[in-house]
Symmetry: C2
Subunit: 109 residues, 2 copies
DNA sequence: TAAGTTCATTGCAATATTACGATTATATAT
DNA sequence: ATATATAATCGTAATATTGCAATGAACTTA
C-alpha cells in the first residue's frame, strides 16, 4: 500500500525514521556534504555540483528545509542555503542514541 | 520517475543513503531496537511486538539482512535473528563520519 | 503419515518517491 | 517598462515502497 503505519510506533521511532529518510537519497547526502564544506551556498551551485535538474534539486532542498536541517535566506535574486546548526545538533543526538546502542547479552547467533 | 540516479554520486554517498534508507521506516527502527534489547530473537516475537502482519515483518527483516545489519540462524522451526555486530560497527563509522561534520566557516545565514 | 508451527515467498493494490519540462514568481538591472 | 537571472511550483510519467491475504517450504511432534 505504500503507506507507513506511523501510529503504531513511538514518536522517537518515527523521528529516527524521518531523519533517516531524509538521508536516504544520495542527492540529499551530497547537498548536505556540500553545505558543510562551503560556508553557505546558493541553489544554482548545487545544480552544477550535483548534476540533477534544477526542479529536482529544489525539491530535495524543500524536504531538507521542511525537516529543519537546512535554512534558506533570500540574498538578492538568489537564495543562500545553509545547515541549521542547532537542529542538526539535535538530530545528531537522536540518531546517535539509536546508532550507539550496545547489545545486551547475546545468547545465540 | 522514482528511480534514483546512483551513478552520479560517490560510493560513500550511495552507501550512506542505503543505510539511511534502511532506517527510514519506523518498523525497521523498532525491529533493530528490539534486537538490541533482547539477546537474539525470533520473528514471531517481532510480529507481536511490532503489530504488523507476519509477511510484512518478514519483508523488513529481509531488507535488513540483505544490508548485513542483522543475521539469522535457523533454530528448530524458528529462526533466531540478531544484530551483526561487526557490520553494525562498520555502518556506524560511515554514518558518524557523515553526521559529525562540522561547518567550515559560516559567512552567511 | 498427518497435523501443527514458524517463517519465506508470491501476487497484488494503494500510496510514495524521484525526476524533469514547462511555467510561474520574485528580484535586479537596463 | 523590459529583459535577465534565480529558484519555486505545477503537472506528469516512471519506478519504488509498504502492507497483507494466500500459499508454500521446512521442520517438529503426535
Amino acid at each position: 500500500m505504500g503507506l507507513t503505519k506511523t501510529e503504531m510506533f513511538t514518536d522517537l521511532q518515527n523521528e529516527i525514521a524521518l531523519f533517516s529518510k531524509a538521508f536516504g537519497h544520495p542527492a540529499r547526502v551530497a547537498i548536505l556534504q556540500h553545505l558543510f564544506k562551503i560556508e553557505g551556498c546558493i541553489c544554482g551551485d548545487l545544480v552544477e555540483e550535483i548534476g540533477l535538474a534544477q526542479p529536482t534539486i529544489s525539491q530535495h532542498l524543500k524536504e531538507l528545509k521542511l525537516l529543519g536541517l537546512i535554512k534558506g535566506n533570500v540574498e538578492g535574486t538568489s537564495i543562500c542555503y545553509c545547515i541549521d546548526e542547532e537542529n542538526w545538533t539535535n538530530m545528531k543526538k537522536v540518531m546517535l542514541q539509536f546508532l550507539d546502542q550496545d547489545i545486551a547479552n547475546k545468547k545465540c547467533c
